[in-house]
Amino acid sequence: MDIIISGLLLGGTYALMAMGLNLQYGVARIMNLANGEMLVLGALAAFTFYVSIQLSPLLTMFIVAPAAFLFNWLIYRFLLRPLVRRAKNQGQLEVDSILATFGMSFALVGVMVSIQGGYFTYSFLADPFSILGTTVALNRFIAFILAVIIGLALYLWLHRSRPGMAVRAVAVSSDASKLVGINVARVSAMAFALGGAITAVGGTLISTFITLDASIGVIFTMKALIIVIMGGVGDIRGAIIAAAILGLVETAVASLIDPGLTLAAAYLIFLLVLLFRPQGLFGRRAT
């Protein structure tokens, strides 16, 4: 029971970062391998503000979100857009964007290491909290609730608003979207920026209960990618369930076998998905 509760709580924040990546890959068609660094940047902001001026991470979130939105928008506009234009086909764009975002991820790690070389350790709301007879840390629970709220808001926005519909249309087919008068370039930039903002907020939330350091981003990139693939690219519902599965399996492995094996567990899941459901949990096999 302990494992189920903490696994689900962890899955909540995982879902958030996977949603961010999903927007970037599913809509803007950019395989962003610097996604994990964006998450760590959010965490670094939370840590810095908390340590220097005791600002609660829950407030830092409101600084991180617009800042990350702007930052990612600029990245898309000035670094990735030229690649989209240059690419002759989707494969070329994939290779170029993978290499470019590698570069960005290293550059970001380098910058963050020079800001804070050690662990981002701080204690925020580390109080015991009882839920369904299981005691968890309050910060985990708060992070989960906020992740659910943000995820819900994103879902409603995508499915109930006109701009949200445009985003979904581009995700289905950017060529057809152009024909019905959607400004694909603008929607892609917005989706990329929004995805980055959501990931960064996820980082702020995660930093309240997991100790991060500047170079850990790639692990989170891996996890987000595994979740997105397991859930199916562009499928938010699938991403949520996949995130819950990953959270549960990781927590189970960490508490029953060894905490050092969580990445191996994630790989095992990844392998199973690739072998049996490469189209995602709810995806249909491409014909």
């Binding site: 395989m31 494969g91 470019a100 570069g103 050092g260 191996a264």
Partner: protein, 308 residues
């Protein structure tokens, strides 16, 4: 074999002989740089053998390299087995692993492959550390041999030459032709009856094979082996960047990238040890944006322009 091929083969042999003479003139410092450069040459060329024609970016180099180094360490330290035997075992293990990874991911789109290899070295390191901590008990492994830097250099040169000759043979073979078609358009390749998955897996296996051998050969240089030391994800990225800097559309491209980058990296590691990650990232960006076809592409463009 026509005249041009004889010519290029002769050029290759001359280069190999010239490289083999390097230890005779180099002192200790240059020798150690020479070993590093030769290591990257073997790794980058074998990387480009697979990734060049197919455009599938493999980040598994560090994983295979680590397998080579670690198995040599375990075998020699814990089981008193010979260096050569362990090198052969590690090559087989890495090749089998590459085959399994290839079979699982290369049937699907290229992105899955990149993602899978991205965390591979880290995952294997975690597994190895876990096994070592819980079942074997020891943490450090010693690789004691009487190889000098020059011996290691010559062994690496042999590997690099083997990779090179293999690449040359593949380019001339049906497999090489198939790979170039896959790289241009995979759908077309499938329609003309090429077994795309099998060709890719086969090539990926050779990359794994050579990376493990290089890892095994380098192990005596460290003498003390730890999982954290041999499974360094950074290595995969360095190999990719060197190959891209040179250009992957020619067999000798990576070599052109390795030499300047090794020297540059040596200088950077000494002068700015705290900024290596940042500078690595910036180097990546520079190459992707300004020299997407590598130095060779740049030279070819210049030659073209001067002719026109």
């Amino acid at each position: 074999m026509n005249g041009k091929e004889v010519q290029s083969l002769t050029a290759i042999i001359v280069c190999i002989i010239a490289a083999a003479c390097f230890p005779l003139i180099a002192d200790g410092y240059w020798m150690s740089i020479g070993v590093t450069a030769m290591m990257y040459m073997a790794l980058a060329t074998s990387w480009a053998l697979f990734s060049g024609p197919t455009h599938y970016i493999s980040l598994a180099t560090a994983a295979f390299f680590g397998i080579g180094g670690y198995l040599v360490g375990t075998g020699m330290s814990d089981y008193d087995l010979s260096f050569w035997l362990m090198m052969a075992i590690s090559a087989v293990v890495a090749t089998v692993l590459a085959a399994l990874i290839g079979l699982a991911t290369l049937r699907l789109s290229g992105v899955y492959f990149v993602i899978f290899t991205l965390g591979l070295a880290e995952m294997i390191r975690n597994l190895v550390s876990w096994v070592q901590n819980n079942f074997l008990g020891s943490r450090g492994l010693y690789v004691l041999t009487d190889f000098t830097d020059a011996d290691i250099y010559w062994m690496l040169l042999t590997v690099a030459a083997a990779v090179y000759l293999l690449g040359w043979l593949i380019n001339r073979s049906r497999l090489g032709f198939a790979l170039r078609i896959i790289g241009n358009d995979e759908t077309v390749a499938r329609h003309v009856g090429i077994n795309t998955a099998w060709s890719k897996v086969l090539l990926f296996m050779t990359t794994g094979f050579f990376a493990a051998i290089v890892g095994a050969i380098i192990a005596p240089r460290y003498s003390y082996i730890e999982p954290n030391l041999v499974f360094k994800p950074e290595l995969s990225f360095l190999v990719v960047i060197m190959a891209l800097l040179g250009g992957t559309h020619r067999l000798w491209g990576p070599i052109v990238g390795v030499i300047p980058f090794t020297l540059l990296w040596e200088a950077i590691s000494i002068s700015f040890p705290n900024y290596t990650t940042l500078l690595l990232g910036l180097a990546f960006l520079l190459i992707v944006y300004f020299i997407p076809r590598g130095l060779i592409g740049l030279i070819e463009d210049l030659v073209e322009r001067s002719r026109a």
